[in-house]
């Protein structure tokens, strides 16, 4: 049980990271790869947040004066993740617009067939 308590979040986030990377490395479909990127992003964000957690912590908001600041979770990773989520969305939107253009030019989303340029 303590193992589960200590590692369950790490298992979850690195599971997402590895599944995301696996999708990106193995699949050829462009939309599938972008889905992989999304999952990878989510995993990294979850990892950052779980770094800042404290046992039986409270959210870092002084909603009533009696809250003990000693018990608050670390606010910095939360700020970082807010930034990271927005950046992830920006990359994703751009990637999908490029995917639409690729489909228009090549008639396929399979990256193996999109090969006009080579070394």
């Amino acid at each position: 049980m303590t193992f589960l308590y200590n590692y369950i979040y790490y298992i979850g986030c690195f599971g997402l990271v590895f599944i995301g990377l696996y999708i990106i490395l193995v699949k050829h479909n462009l939309i599938k790869i972008i889905i992989g990127l999304n999952i990878l992003d989510t995993g990294v964000n979850l990892f950052l947040i779980s770094i800042g957690y404290i046992k039986k912590g409270t959210a870092p908001i002084f909603s009533n004066p009696g809250i003990n600041p000693n018990r608050m979770v670390d606010p910095v990773p939360q700020a970082l993740v807010l930034t990271a989520i927005v950046i992830g969305v920006a990359v994703l939107a751009l990637a999908l617009s490029l995917a639409i253009m690729v489909y228009q030019h090549y008639g396929t989303l399979n990256l193996r067939k999109v090969k006009q340029q080579r070394w």
Binding site: V44, M101, V102, H105, V114
Partner: protein, 494 residues
């Protein structure tokens, strides 16, 4: 009131006003990047003497350094930001006439923001802030590569985007691991906490490897450079100049900053030597076989990055000055080459080298600029490439570590010979071949010739009189080698 934060904020503010100017008059829009980059150029030149006296550390938001984001403007940062502003200024003059297709407004906004990202990345002293500015740089370059929306550009952009996105995620993972271990994001504070002697524990090696992979994608060091030739050859020529001249240098800066300032352990620098030499050889050999001129220049950029990384890996004051000098010289020469080639392609309508026969007589100034850029890149005196390559070879010779460095110097010279061979081939086609089809070609317009001439003057001037630059370079290399000084600037003596 000269404050380095204005280097980032004023162009950013101007980029936000572009749509508002667009409502008033579409024609004024193309002058905004010129104004923004001209401002940056003047400001960074004004700041250089102050920074040389004492490095500036500015906290943003008015809190003490480890608790807020701070800009650390040392000699290295101000040198790179001056180079960025110079190249950006000249290319923005060039682009006034060159970019006519598509929505010009959007091009100009993305262009300014790319340079804002580059400037921010070299000035910041906070690891997460570095990541954010890196993303600004990367995302705007993805969009600009696909700016024309043709099939080649879109294909290059999507490949670049996928690799870049994986790289930046790795970087974020590395930041997370470092934050978990040390509980701070300030680079000086992290550097203070990492005390390495001779070996590196795995728990620290993993974030280092993640950082090098993440930034190495942008820097195009060896196994991570498959995006570069596509992206640099399919982008508009003005953007190719910026990507080759500046964007990949920021990647190298990131790798170097993390390795030297954050981790700062001599035995890992040998890694850079080997990465550099492999990248150099692969780039130059691949460039030799190209018939497309922009691809040739792109591969040559890979080779030059290899040389820069090699020089920085020597890790002596001379070696690092040589590497930084090479950054400067490659930025000027490669920008000149891409800009000159841009109008040759525009006039002949093809990127194939064989179609440029006889262009040398019809477009004399452009061809002269190309020739000077090529000579400088090869390292012939009296151009800027000569002192920089000379410095690198001298630094490698001074490092008396037996046969290893002799072999490496031999490989560097070999790569230079290959470089010379393919550039002379192009120059021969330009001047010594005749073609009836190219009889009616005009030279480039005035707005394109001005940046070409200014770049040529800089290349010649620094090549003949490198002394003032050398002083700045020596201080910059000192900044990289002395991690303790950097920590002292930011966090004070305690």
């Amino acid at each position: 009131m000269v404050n380095p934060v204005l280097l980032i904020v004023v162009p950013l503010g101007l980029a936000f006003t572009v749509p508002l100017f667009g409502f008033i008059s579409k024609k004024t829009v193309k002058y905004i990047p010129v104004v923004a980059m001209g401002f940056n150029l003047i400001l960074s030149l004004l700041l250089i003497p102050r920074v040389l006296e004492h490095p500036l550390v500015l906290s943003i938001g008015g809190f003490p350094p480890p608790f807020c984001i701070n800009l650390t403007v040392g000699p290295l940062g101000i040198l790179l930001s001056a180079v960025i502003a110079l190249i950006g200024f000249l290319v923005s003059i060039y682009a006034m006439d060159y970019i006519r297709k598509g929505s010009v407004e959007k091009y100009q906004m993305l262009y300014i923001l790319l340079l804002v990202g580059a400037t921010g990345a070299v000035l910041t002293g906070d690891i997460f802030n570095l990541f954010v500015f890196f993303e600004i740089l990367c995302i705007s370059s993805y969009a600009l590569v696909a700016y024309f929306g043709d099939s080649l550009g879109v294909e290059a952009a999507i490949k670049y985007l996928i690799q870049g996105a994986i790289g930046s995620t790795f970087m974020l993972l590395g930041i997370g691991l470092l934050y978990g271990m040390f509980g701070t994001l300030n680079m000086a504070d992290i550097a203070k906490n990492i005390k390495l002697q001779n070996s590196i524990p795995i728990s620290l090696f993993v974030p280092l490897a993640l950082f090098i992979t993440g930034m190495g994608v942008e820097a195009a060091i060896f196994p991570l450079n498959s995006w570069l030739p596509d992206a640099h050859s399919s982008a508009p020529s003005s953007i190719s100049a910026i990507l080759s001249g500046i964007a990949i240098k920021i990647g190298v800066y990131g790798v170097v900053r993390v390795m030297f300032t954050l981790f700062g352990m001599p035995s890992i620098f040998h890694l850079l030597l080997f990465i550099g030499i492999i990248t150099l050889l692969i780039g130059e050999l691949a460039a030799f076989g190209q018939t497309n001129i922009k691809r040739m220049l792109a591969y040559s950029s890979i080779g030059q990055i290899g040389l820069i990384v090699f020089a920085l890996g020597i890790a002596t004051p001379y070696g690092i000055s040589g590497g930084l000098f090479q950054i400067l010289s490659h930025a000027l020469s490669k920008a000149l080459l891409f800009l000159a080639v841009g109008y040759m392609i525009y006039r002949t309508g093809s990127m194939d080298i064989s179609t440029f026969q006889g262009i040398g007589r019809k477009m004399p100034l452009t061809s002269l600029a190309f020739t000077i850029g090529a000579f400088s890149l090869i390292g012939l005196p009296p151009f800027i490439g000569f002192p920089s390559k000379f410095l690198i070879v001298r630094a490698a010779l001074a490092k008396k570590e037996g046969i290893l460095f002799i072999v490496l110097i031999f490989l560097v010279l070999f790569a230079t010979i290959i470089e010379g061979a393919y550039f002379f081939r192009v120059i021969q086609v330009l001047y010594f071949k005749e073609n009836k089809e190219n009889q009616d070609k005009k030279d480039a317009p005035f707005s394109a010739l001005v940046p070409l001439i200014i770049l040529t003057v800089f290349i010649l001037f620094i090549g003949i009189y490198p002394k003032p630059v050398m002083k700045l370079l020596r201080l910059a290399s000192w900044e990289l080698l002395n991690k303790m000084d950097y920590i002292k600037w930011v966090l004070g003596a305690g």
